[in-house]
């Protein structure tokens, strides 16, 4: 079997079980909230419009954004709860995913339930009143039973939506089948992306069919087929809920990773080092940048690799650009003082923002530095990743060099490299340690005015693990062990199209090249 497929199979129990538990919990909670709202909307015209409008509004928010919005909201709530009850809760992972998906599940249930009842044959309603039913009796004995097929169709739609949207919970730190898709997209492992899609679609299909059996069983009053389908459904959920219990990793070190190749490799490297010391390591991969840091500060993850410039500009909010050592020193102090986070050490390479162009075009235009680019920029198009144009570096580049471009586009970083290589854009915001710079024959433009911040790779440790001897023993040897060349090569070995390595294989290779043995 292809190594990529084998690797995907190995993590399937974990991803699938978490996906199932998340989807089932969201749908159950969604039903619990939607059914009373549906009944309210049926009985009160005044309630009907706001309820339907709210549910529709939620549906217009893109799934990823809805999930992202719950993170800061829960963080604020957790802070309030900590102050009031002395007990906070995790704003990352399961909870924001659950709440967002619950909201997402509501519209089809409510809309189908309400339309189902309002579109009933008026003669049946008149008969129900005529025989002497109260409003409540009419609702429970006539309207809801008759609207049940329509309501069940809504539940089926909702289940399919929730299972699909649950793949988006990966970036907020909830493991799901989306992990295949997000990491596969990042490291250009299309087998993994496809595997994730097929698994999610398969799960949705099976669930839909089982709910369909229940729906038809209800219509024909066939108790046996309802019971059979319900048993299968609950058995699946129970098996999924039991899976993590069997895996036993309560005291594991949790390693975070943002969503790009280098981070996946470094997370695998950290895990390998920790496991060599006899401890177990769990991974929360594919986190957003700010999400990863906040998760660390809240002890939800124990260790991850960040970059000095990111902390300096994003979290400390500094706008000037001092020398490397100054940035490192102030970052270390700030992390310690404001968050109790330990800067354990530097890995030995930088992953800074850099402007890169195709070598051939740069030579043709005679561009070697950003200053040269400033003169030709107005004819050229620039591509950036999702955050670049919102970052202080971009402002510094614009102000320092007077840069101006004909057009500006944003890409997911894998596609950003493809875009510049394919000539869709002329300049991109590359990362200096990225293997794809060499792979696509790009050149990095000099920064003579030194407006771009230094981005040393740093190992950050959560407050509760600050004095953890095992962590120090495992990760201490990484100090200064990785230079930019081997990091680029390791990344490229994962990103390239042929003879791809998995992040874990690249991490082992990296450890060997760094002289750490393996």
């Amino acid at each position: 079997m292809d190594e990529r497929i084998a690797a995907a199979w190995r993590v399937l129990p974990d991803y699938l079980s978490q996906h199932v538990v998340l989807s089932a919990a969201s749908l159950a909670l969604g039903l619990l909230i939607s059914l009373p709202l549906t009944i309210g909307a049926i009985r009160s015209e005044r309630l009907r419009w706001p309820v339907l409008a709210f549910a529709s509004l939620v549906q217009t928010i893109p799934g990823l954004a809805l999930l992202a919005l719950f993170y800061p909201l829960l963080l604020a709530l957790s802070a309030v709860s900590l102050r009031t009850f002395g007990q906070g809760f995790s704003a990352l992972g399961f909870l924001p995913s659950l709440l967002a998906l619950t909201l997402y599940s509501m519209l089809p249930i409510i809309r189908n339930g309400v339309t189902g009842v309002l579109n009933l044959d008026p003669a049946v309603i008149e008969a129900a009143r005529g025989v002497g039913m109260t409003d409540r009796e009419r609702l429970w004995r006539i309207e809801l039973p008759l609207a049940t097929p329509m309501l069940m169709a809504g539940v089926r739609t909702s289940a399919v939506w929730v299972i699909g949207a649950a793949t988006l919970s990966t970036p907020v730190g909830q493991t799901s089948l989306g992990n295949y898709i997000f990491s596969g997209l990042q490291i250009e492992n299309w087998v993994s992306v496809l595997f994730g899609c097929v698994a999610a679609a398969g799960l949705a299909l099976v669930t839909d069919q089982l709910l369909g059996v229940i729906e038809r069983g209800a219509a024909r009053r066939d108790r046996r087929s309802i019971a059979a389908a319900l048993t299968l459904l609950f058995a699946g959920i129970a098996a999924a809920a039991a899976t993590p219990l069997l895996q036993q990793r309560s005291s594991a070190y949790v390693i975070g990773a943002k969503s790009f190749t280098e981070q996946y490799i470094l997370a695998a490297l950290l895990a390998e080092r920790i496991e060599r010391e006899g401890a177990s390591a769990a991974r929360r991969a594919g986190l957003g940048s700010a999400v990863a840091f906040r998760a660390l500060a809240n002890d939800e993850i124990d260790v991850y690799v960040d970059y000095s410039g990111t902390v300096w500009a994003n979290f400390m909010g500094r706008t000037h650009t001092p020398a490397r050592e100054v940035v490192l020193r102030e970052v270390r102090e700030w992390l310690q003082q404001t968050h109790g986070v330990l800067l354990l050490g530097t890995l030995g390479f930088e992953n800074a923002y850099a402007l890169a162009m195709r070598r051939s075009q740069a030579e043709k235009l005679g561009v070697r530095s950003i200053a040269d680019l400033a003169a030709r920029g107005s004819e050229l198009r620039i591509g950036g990743d999702f955050e670049f144009f919102a970052r202080p570096e971009w402002r510094a580049l614009q102000e320092g060099y007077g840069l101006r471009f004909a057009e500006r586009r944003q890409y997911q970083s894998t596609f950003m490299y493809k875009a510049v290589a394919g000539g869709e854009v002329d300049v991109i915001s590359a990362f200096s340690s990225d293997g794809r710079i060499a792979a696509h024959d790009l050149i990095v433009l000099d920064d003579p005015l030194q407006v771009i911040l230094p981005y040393d790779a740093i190992i950050l440790v959560s407050p509760r693990r600050v004095n953890d001897p095992l962590l120090r023993r495992a990760l201490g040897p990484l100090e200064g062990a990785i230079n930019v060349d081997i990091m680029r090569e390791a990344s490229l070995s994962v990103d390239r199209d042929a003879e791809k390595r998995t992040p874990a294989q690249a991490a082992s290779w990296l450890a060997q090249r760094a002289g750490l043995g393996s």
């Binding site: 044959d121 049946v124 008149e126 039913m133």
Partner: protein, 265 residues
């Protein structure tokens, strides 16, 4: 019931009026139905006959006027309790499609919390009364013909032994043969169960053949009332004459056809 019941009529409407968004539908209608009466209300569509009927079981609440059943104002009890004492049959039938015929008939007794044994017995009785086979109790309404459905509708209305039956175009959607048969059968039930019936119809012939008293409505008012033979005689109002004359002319044409057929036969 109460102390008036012996003397009071089964149904009495006093000056009942109703408007829908400003447009008057019923204007100051008076109606008295003694025990055992069979009253038909006829008139064109929009004349207010259905609205008048529905004020009796409070499917429509009047703006003014008084409605008494057995001398007791209908407002004395909540509408759902009132309706459980009154049979109601209408053109749409409105059988509950998710319930069997037996369950449909048993609806009102169940609302009244009769015990199951009594309900089963009552369902069997009613199937016999409306001339349907006993095994129909397990069938669903979708498996029945239109005439059979309305028989179930009548059985459901009679289930909790009401003294009063309200019927709104009950046989309007049926073919002429079924319609005639069901009408005659219902008249027999009316006699046998000593019911008081108010029936709304736009079919003058049906009204004349079934009812003891006919009320003619136009634009929300009762413009004529009387026994069928009284209305057959010359009436002051031209519109009433027109309405009543139609079935008489039809009957005369049919009679001459029959005589012709006999002469040529």
């Amino acid at each position: 019931m109460n102390m008036h019941s012996a003397a009071a009529p089964a149904i009495e409407l006093r000056g009942v009026s109703k408007s829908f968004s400003g447009a008057p539908a019923v204007r100051s209608v008076n109606l008295t139905a003694p025990h055992g009466a069979f009253i038909a209300i006829i008139g064109a569509s929009g004349s207010g006959k259905t609205t008048t009927l529905k004020t009796i079981n409070r499917l429509v609440e009047p703006d003014s006027g008084e409605i008494l059943l057995e001398g007791e104002p209908v407002h004395a009890s909540p509408p759902h309790l009132l309706r459980r004492r009154i049979g109601y049959v209408f053109q749409g039938v409105g059988l509950f499609p998710h319930m069997t015929v037996g369950e449909n008939i048993a609806v009102t007794p169940r609302l009244l919390r009769w015990d199951e044994e009594r309900i089963t017995q009552r369902v069997a009785e009613l199937l016999e009364l409306v001339d349907l086979p006993q095994d129909y109790a397990q069938r669903f309404p979708s498996m029945l013909s239109g005439g059979q459905r309305q028989r179930v509708g009548v059985a459901r209305a009679l289930a909790a032994r009401p003294a009063i039956m309200l019927m709104d175009e009950p046989f309007g959607a049926l073919d002429p043969l079924t319609r005639d048969a069901l009408g005659r059968e219902y008249r027999r039930l009316h006699e046998r169960l000593q019911l008081t019936t108010v029936m709304v119809t736009h079919d003058v012939l049906e009204a004349m053949l079934l009812a003891d008293t006919i009320l003619v409505m136009r634009a929300g008012e009762i413009i004529a009332r009387g026994a069928p033979h009284e209305l057959m005689n010359e009436h002051a109002d031209a519109a009433v004459r027109e309405l009543i004359d139609t079935p008489r002319r039809q009957a005369e044409r049919v009679r001459s056809l029959i005589e012709n057929a006999a002469a040529h036969g």
